[in-house]
């Protein structure tokens, strides 16, 4: 690839489109940027407070609640108000430690908000204690249980300090510093209900206070206000699933992730259009016949969008860092966002190569927006809740902007799958960037087959193609973990189904595409050989998933189920067996699908179903049994 040619095409791409952007589009884009520019620094500086000053509280300055009210922007203190003002100019009236709400929904909401504010205040007080072990003592209750087939076998035993369950099985709290992550959840924060115990108005909540002392990492009562969870404080270290947590909604993470993801959704619209416009009416034909390679054309057309996206993201990252810390930084964020930008563009590129019209392109870009935003955005919201969030590079960005350290393995774990996926997607799209494919009006599924079969000329190419698809498999499985793990133990069998479906499709589709393009003779022997090669290719590529061990993901039952990571505390023979069993599985199931693929579409669908079933049985029976016995 010659940089000069690439840059010339990039310059042409910019100047060509410069006059094509109408004023309305510019206005909308400008408004969006202005909104981001205003919103993001505000969040970075002080967090987003959309309900500032909505509750008015009559509280004396010498009341112990006064500081709570003052420090929480939701409240406005009205020291001069009287009881007569309750329901009129104030929503809460506090006198001698007793809290009286106005007889209205707003009054009741104000009381609930005060309770949360007290919890947060208490927690902050406790965090300032020099002896954190004393401030947040940990009590561990052990209970030995029969292991269930799926979830139980993959959960750690009671001796593992990282995965201790409370007797009620309501939380998996395990902390290094004793800080609970439940915030105001059902367990750890119950101590806060001492607030009500203090005012003596809520006996039920006083009972909840028992849970606080029950010791599931909950903070004890402190003074008259009780303990409080740390919420999303950044120093939590939990592997709880959302179904077991009730943290305050992490609005700051949400806004930060939102700020980074929005520009990309604008950008891919323009990028998709420019790629598709090359294909419509054969406009790109003359570039193809000029003395530049297709890679220079693709690179040149992509570069302005990539550079533009990175520039915007860099400005956001550096700006937010500066607003938040007063220093110039954000390099980690910029590096983490790069593969995500590449993935957005790569997916759009392939989508635009598949689409036959702007109508189809709209469908494609919406799909990409929803899919990739889910992949990148949703985990990042829960940055401080679970290590699963690290499947998204945005999590690294959010953590970096929140001043948290990001370890190199965590960084690699986040950025490698999207980066590899982007490279593969660009490669598949580039395979179609030639006269015969890019101007052909073929249905999207057929284009997918074209892309897969394009590079396949020899048998071993099938194995290579299957291995190349591994980043997608990995990303999909990680996404499945993130989506399904909220369901708790039910998610394990569901994940095993997802794993079987995704992996069998990845192994068999290149074989089917090769047969569809008459690359190989349609015979049983040929199919068995191709199946074995595809299985071996997948097996080799699958080892990439060992990357997951670099972070805490395998410690989750869901992580083990989806990634099928072998335990390390077993003997050599079992380790060897566990190492090679997947090779046998992949070879067998890929061969089943390949035999079907060699006999046509309908036979392929049936064979693929059988292969998925075999894979699922293996996952459920063999793997779980093996792991359960070790």
């Amino acid at each position: 690839m010659r940089p000069r040619k690439l840059l010339r095409i990039a310059r042409w791409e910019v100047t060509k489109n410069a006059g094509g952007v109408d004023k309305r589009t510019l206005a909308v884009a400008g408004l969006a940027i202005a909104l981001i520019a205003v919103l993001a620094p505000a969040v970075a500086a002080q967090g987003a407070v959309l309900d500032e000053g909505i509750y008015r509280v009559a509280v004396d300055e010498d009341s112990r609640y006064y500081d709570v009210v003052e420090e929480n922007p939701t409240f406005v203190a009205r020291p001069d108000a009287t009881r007569e003002d309750l329901g009129e100019s104030v929503d809460l009236y506090i006198e001698d430690g007793y809290v009286s709400p106005a007889a209205s929904p707003k009054g009741r909401a104000a009381k609930e908000e005060l309770r949360s504010a007290v919890q947060a205040y208490n927690n902050e007080q406790l965090r300032q204690e020099a002896n954190q072990s004393a401030a947040f003592p940990v009590s561990v209750s052990l209970e030995y249980r029969e292991q269930s087939q799926a979830g139980g076998t993959l959960a750690t035993d009671g001796e593992d300090p990282q995965q201790v369950r409370d007797p009620d099985n309501r939380s998996d709290n395990r902390t290094g510093d004793g800080t609970p992550v439940d915030g105001n959840g059902s367990n750890a924060t119950d101590g806060t209900d001492g607030t009500d115990g203090t005012d003596g108005t809520d006996g039920t909540n006083g009972t909840d206070g028992t849970d606080g002392t029950d010791g599931t990492a909950g903070a004890p009562n402190s003074g008259g206000l009780g303990g409080a969870g740390s919420a999303i404080s950044g120093d939590g270290d939990s592997v709880d699933s959302p179904s077991q947590l009730s943290p305050p909604f992490p609005f700051e993470s949400l806004v930060l992730a939102f700020v980074f993801i929005i520009p990309m959704n604008f950008l891919i619209q323009a990028y998709g259009s420019t790629i598709l416009s090359e294909r419509l009416n054969r406009r790109g034909e003359l570039l193809l016949v000029s003395p530049v390679s297709r890679y220079e054309i693709i690179g040149g057309k992509t570069l302005p969008y990539f550079a533009g996206a990175m520039a915007i993201e860099a400005v956001i990252a550096v700006g937010l860092t500066y607003v938040g810390t007063g220093t110039i930084g954000g390099l980690v964020s910029i590096a983490a966002i790069l593969p995500l930008v590449a993935l957005f563009l790569a997916a759009t590129f392939v989508g635009a190569m598949f689409a036959r019209s702007f109508k189809e392109l709209t469908f494609v870009t919406v799909t990409i927006t929803v899919g990739l935003t889910s992949y990148a955005f949703v985990p990042a919201i829960f940055t401080d809740v679970t290590p699963i969030a690290l499947i998204s590079p945005l999590t690294v960005v959010v953590r970096d902007l929140q001043g948290q350290a990001v370890a190199a393995p965590e960084f690699l774990f986040s950025v490698t799958p999207p980066l590899l996926s982007a490279i593969v997607l660009f490669g598949l799209g580039a395979g179609l960037y030639r006269e015969e494919d890019m101007f052909a009006q073929r249905a999207i599924p057929l284009k997918v087959l074209d892309a897969l079969a394009g590079p396949v000329r020899k048998r071993w190419h099938v194995g290579a193609m299957v291995a190349v698809l591994l980043p997608f498999v990995f990303v999909l499985q990680l996404l499945a973990i993130a989506v399904l793990f909220a369901l708790g133990e039910v998610s394990i069998p569901l994940l095993l189904v997802v794993v079987a479906v995704v992996e069998e499709i990845a192994k068999s589709l290149p074989v089917y595409a090769a047969y569809a393009h008459k690359r190989f003779e349609r015979s049983t022997v040929s199919a068995l050989v191709l199946g074995a090669i595809a299985g071996a290719g997948f097996f080799v590529g699958e080892k990439i998933t060992q990357l997951a061990q670099l972070v805490g993901l395998p410690e989750l039952a869901q992580g083990q189920a989806a990634l099928q990571i072998a335990p390390t505390d077993v003997g050599a023979p079992i380790l060897i067996a566990l190492f090679f069993l997947p090779l046998l599985l992949h070879g067998v199931t890929a061969a089943i699908s390949a035999v079907g693929a060699s006999r046509g579409k309908r036979a392929y669908v049936v064979a693929l179903g059988v292969a998925m079933l075999v894979h699922l049985v293996y996952n459920l029976a063999v793997l779980s049994e093996v792991l359960g016995n070790v």
Binding site: I9, T15, N17, R282, R283, L286, V292, E435
Partner: protein, 292 residues
């Protein structure tokens, strides 16, 4: 300049081009004619390196068709003129001149010269606002921006009005006079006949006849002799006070002369009428003859 050997292109089970073999000499104008779907465009695109042949060999100016160096020496004009309509002729041609590594001063001069020759004004107008004929002229100018040795033109005058068509054909003739090697296809056989040195006739993916016009006429055409006599002879018709008999061989001409003499008259004129390329093409297409 161009060597094509046993060229074949398959799309699934369909063979768009099969077994084409021909050569084009340096400075020659070579036409490819045939009905729709005959494989003309596919053949030209394989020559230009746009389509990869299923089998067979293509060499242009001594380079393989997929060689970047070959593309530097080639000017390709597709059947449509898919221009970037948001650009002006100048910016469009300058961009392609850059891609072909034409020095900017040379490019500027060449663009000005070519657009003048093509009689194209409105050089700063957006291409999207131009007529089809003007766009075609810009497309032709682009094909010449690198001063190529070889020009491959696919239906250069397709869909244009007669005036513009005539202009473009004349321009192509001038390019041939400058020594460019030109391969082009056309539906209008009159255009091919007027400027081509040799012609290949394609039908259903195969070359069914090829050669110079005389050879094709001799092999696939018919020569008619119009014999005019002063008296009526068998199969004659009266025209302008004379009788005309149309025959297909010199023996029949002699027989007509004898018949006129026996009737007391004489032959006063003999005119020869050769088949046009169109008639040759129709003959070949109807007979389905395949040249070995």
């Amino acid at each position: 300049m161009i060597e094509v050997s046993d060229l074949r292109k398959e799309y699934g089970d369909f063979a768009a081009v099969e077994g084409s073999t021909f050569a084009v000499e340096d400075g020659e104008v070579f036409g490819i004619i045939g009905p729709n779907g005959a494989g003309k465009t596919t053949t030209l695109k394989m020559l230009a390196g746009l389509i990869e042949p299923t089998s067979g060999q293509v060499s242009v100016a001594g380079y393989d068709a997929d060689d970047t160096e070959m593309r530097r020496r080639l000017g390709f004009l597709p059947e449509e003129s898919p221009l970037y309509e948001e650009m002006t002729p100048i910016s469009y041609l300058t961009f392609f001149a850059d891609l072909y590594d034409v020095p900017s001063d040379v490019a500027e001069e060449r663009i000005d010269e070519t657009l003048s020759e093509l009689d194209l004004d409105h050089r700063e107008r957006q291409l999207g606002d131009m007529s089809k004929g003007m766009k075609r002229k810009v497309a032709i100018a682009r094909s010449l921006i690198n001063d190529p040795d070889v020009l491959i033109y696919d239906e250069p005058a397709s869909g244009l009005d007669p005036l513009t068509t005539n202009y473009i054909i004349q321009f192509t003739e001038r390019l041939a006079e400058e020594g460019k090697t030109i391969v082009f296809s056309a539906h209008n056989l009159f255009h091919v006949e007027s400027i081509c040195d040799r012609v290949a006739i394609m039908n259903e993916g195969s070359i069914v006849a090829k050669g110079d016009l005389e050879t094709l006429q001799a092999e696939h055409g018919e020569t008619e002799y119009h014999v005019y006599t002063t008296v009526e002879v068998p199969d004659s018709v009266k025209k302008n006070g004379r009788y005309r008999r149309v025959v297909n061989s010199m023996d029949e001409v002699e027989a007509t002369r004898e018949a006129a003499t026996e009737a007391g008259g004489e032959v006063v004129d003999i005119r020869t009428e050769e088949s046009s390329l169109e008639e040759v093409f129709l003959n070949v297409a109807e007979s389905g003859r395949v040249e070995a």
